[in-house]
């Protein structure tokens, strides 16, 4: 009887792993296609392609093409400027505001919190047209300013909300001693609260990075006509949407895509713990 049970258990475990592998094949399919398309020769895109091309035909020329093209360095620089000013803006802006909402008493706080949360509902397109007109009047269009400045004012309602949840969890006893010593609320913010909320800041930094790294809607709106300000995503979109003008073949585009996946994959693999922790904050009540 006992042996029978263990055999049964082993069979179910094997079946479980088999399912895991089958699902993995499905989820790896786009990755496989992407990597494969990035290493096939140019001639591949003129006729009917092979599902499994000959190994000898494969080449890494696309990657050297990308690395040798100095334009992509500029796009990378622009992308990094946008990413890092957003990361800083989100972390500083949202933690500052969230600290006020979570720990500093003041009149009308609930109204302020309600107003901040309500902005989540507003579709971006509602404000985008007036902003576009204002930006073109003050000469911000075709610069990176529209993509880097607004985020410094609060860092986004959802981020403030997450930060507030996290800060609320910090026991008041930690700051009470400091208050008795005569510390100001600002001192408590940067010397006690800020070091303690590192996990949520890491979460915000990573999600902000991934969001900005992959975003092309924002850049397309403001810097589409100024090639020197393009980000990687926008460049990829331009290569793709105007193939005759750009003269870039799909295999090079796929190589850019593969390269663009690397930072996110590394971040996700290394900070899985922090990401999970940040995620659980989203489900908590305000």
């Amino acid at each position: 009887m006992a042996m029978k049970a263990s055999v049964k258990k082993r069979i179910s475990k094997t079946a479980y792993y088999a399912c895991l592998v089958v699902f993995s094949v499905i989820f790896l399919f786009p990755i496989y296609c992407m990597v494969l398309q990035s290493i096939v020769p140019d001639s591949y895109f003129t006729g009917i392609p092979e599902l499994f091309p000959k190994l000898s035909e494969l080449q890494l020329k696309t990657y050297t093409t990308v690395f040798n093209d100095v334009r992509y360095l500029y796009y990378l620089k622009n992308t990094l400027i946008v990413c890092f000013s957003n990361i800083l803006g989100v972390c500083v802006g949202s933690s500052f505001c969230a600290y006020g909402l979570a720990k500093v008493p003041f009149k009308g706080k609930n109204i302020v919190f309600g107003v901040i949360l309500a902005t989540v509902l507003l579709p971006g397109v509602v404000t985008s047209i007036p902003l576009y007109i204002v930006y073109s009047k003050i000469g911000w269009n075709s610069s990176l300013l529209p993509l880097t400045v607004p985020i410094w004012f609060g860092g986004g309602a959802m981020n403030i909300f997450l930060c507030r949840q996290f800060i609320k969890g910090i026991p008041d006893s930690l700051s009470e001693a400091a208050i008795l010593d005569g510390a100001s609320s600002f001192k408590i913010y940067y010397s006690i609260v800020l070091p303690l909320i590192r996990p949520i800041l890491v979460y915000l930094a990573i999600t902000t990075f991934l969001g900005q790294w992959n975003d092309f809607q924002g850049p397309m709106m403001y810097v589409k006509d100024t090639q020197s300000k393009w980000t990687l995503s926008l460049a990829l979109y331009k290569n793709f949407s105007e193939p005759t003008y750009s003269g870039v073949l799909p295999n090079v585009n796929m190589a850019i895509g593969v390269l663009m996946m690397i930072p996110g994959t590394i971040l996700f693999a290394f900070f899985q713990q922090e990401l999970m922790e940040g995620v659980t904050m989203t489900g908590l009540k305000g």
């Binding site: 479980y16 895991l20 699902f23 993995s24 499905i26 989820f27 786009p30 990755i31 296609c33 992407m34 895109f45 009917i48 392609p49 599902l51 802006g93 505001c97 006020g100 500093v104 009149k107 706080k109 107003v115 901040i116 902005t119 989540v120 971006g124 397109v125 509602v126 404000t127 047209i129 007036p130 576009y132 007109i133 009047k137 607004p150 410094w152 004012f153 609060g154 790294w213 992959n214 975003d215 092309f216 809607q217 709106m221 990829l236 979109y237 793709f240 796929m254 996946m261 996110g264 994959t265 996700f268 693999a269 899985q272 999970m276 995620v279 659980t280 989203t282 489900g283 908590l284 009540k285």
Partner: protein, 325 residues
């Protein structure tokens, strides 16, 4: 009586108290009452500058004629026409607007439902502590890390009617070709099929929430002889309703504003199937330069999203937030 009242009034209005009491108030009480506002001030200024004012300007535009060629002085006369035009079927735009609304709602409802159920099942399947399970989680999440544009380009290549891998595989097995994004009628099923590869994003959220359920609940259920299905219905699902609520709200708001993933795929054949409302607004504003009408359309979307969210919040009695926090 009369006299007493008079004295009180003179006292209150006395020069000494008038000078002193408010002064004490401003210094100490004011700081206590409103000192914390300094922390939310940058956010409030940001909301004012980048949300509230543009919102009102957009509303203002939507009631006027706008001349896009005169950037310094674009606003013309007052008119209701931008709103009337949306709903007029003859000489209006109702045909296109209603089509956009229909495909956007169909997209939001069906993809959110399918993705929530699918990713939940996937998370349940992965919510075990076995060797190597972490690596599988990363693998399932990988497609979510493909940059949106690269993903769109990739799917366009893979689903190409003649040269795409999927059709090559189908042909290898002697099956007929599928048209995917090429023909209007196969666009929506293709969107659903491609959506599967995005399940990893929600899966990570479910898993994080499932990990937080105390183990004792399941141990107690085991002792009581409750089977796996009962444990799912009576423990796991109720304990994750707060995440269900969060994902439901954010996914619907995001799905109603779908843009980037499909904008590059639009061509003459499939426009009627991919002309989602935000894509329509974008083209109206930045391609046709009909800004006033685009503003009116964006307010329509705002009203829809606002009322839908209010409706979901109103009916959110089923959400369990754990012990009061």
């Amino acid at each position: 009586m009369e006299n007493e009242k008079l004295t009180m009034e003179t006292n209150e209005g006395g020069a000494s108290s008038l000078g002193l009491v408010p002064k004490r108030y401003t210094l100490r009480r004011f700081k206590k009452d409103f000192g914390g506002v300094i922390y939310v001030l940058p956010t409030l200024v940001g909301i004012l500058l980048f949300t509230l004012i543009p919102m009102l300007v957009s509303l203002h535009y939507s009631f006027h004629k706008i001349n896009p060629h005169d950037m310094q002085n674009p606003i013309g006369e007052f008119t209701f026409d931008n709103y009337l035009r949306m709903f007029r079927s003859n000489s209006g735009d109702w045909g296109s607007v209603s089509r956009s609304l229909f495909i956007t709602f169909r997209y939001a409802i069906v993809t959110v439902a399918v993705s929530m159920v699918g990713s939940y099942a996937l998370a349940l399947f992965l919510n075990k502590s076995l060797k190597g399970i972490g690596a599988f989680r990363v693998v399932y999440y990988l497609p979510c890390l493909i940059p949106a544009v690269a993903g769109t380009l990739l799917w366009a290549n893979i689903t190409n009617e003649n040269t795409g891998y999927i059709n090559l595989i189908l042909q290898r097995f002697g099956l007929p070709k599928y048209t995917f994004y090429t023909e209007a009628k196969t666009v929506f099923p293709t969107i659903l099929l491609m959506g599967v590869f995005g399940w990893g994003g929600n899966m990570v959220m479910w898993l994080a929430q499932m990990k937080n359920i105390p183990r004792e609940y399941y141990e107690a259920a085991n002792i009581d002889g409750a089977n796996k299905l009962r444990q799912l219905i009576n423990i796991t699902i109720p304990m994750t309703t707060s995440m269900v609520f969060y994902i439901l709200i954010t996914s619907i708001i995001n799905a109603l504003q779908v843009f980037g993933s499909y904008y590059p795929l639009i061509n003459g054949n499939n426009r009627s199937e991919l002309n989602f409302i935000v894509i329509k607004i974008y083209d109206t504003a930045y391609v046709e330069h009909d800004w006033a009408y685009a503003c009116a359309l964006s307010w329509l979307l705002f009203v829809i999203i606002g009322s839908l969210t209010a409706l979901i919040f109103k009916t959110s009695k089923w959400v369990y937030y754990g012990d009061e926090n």
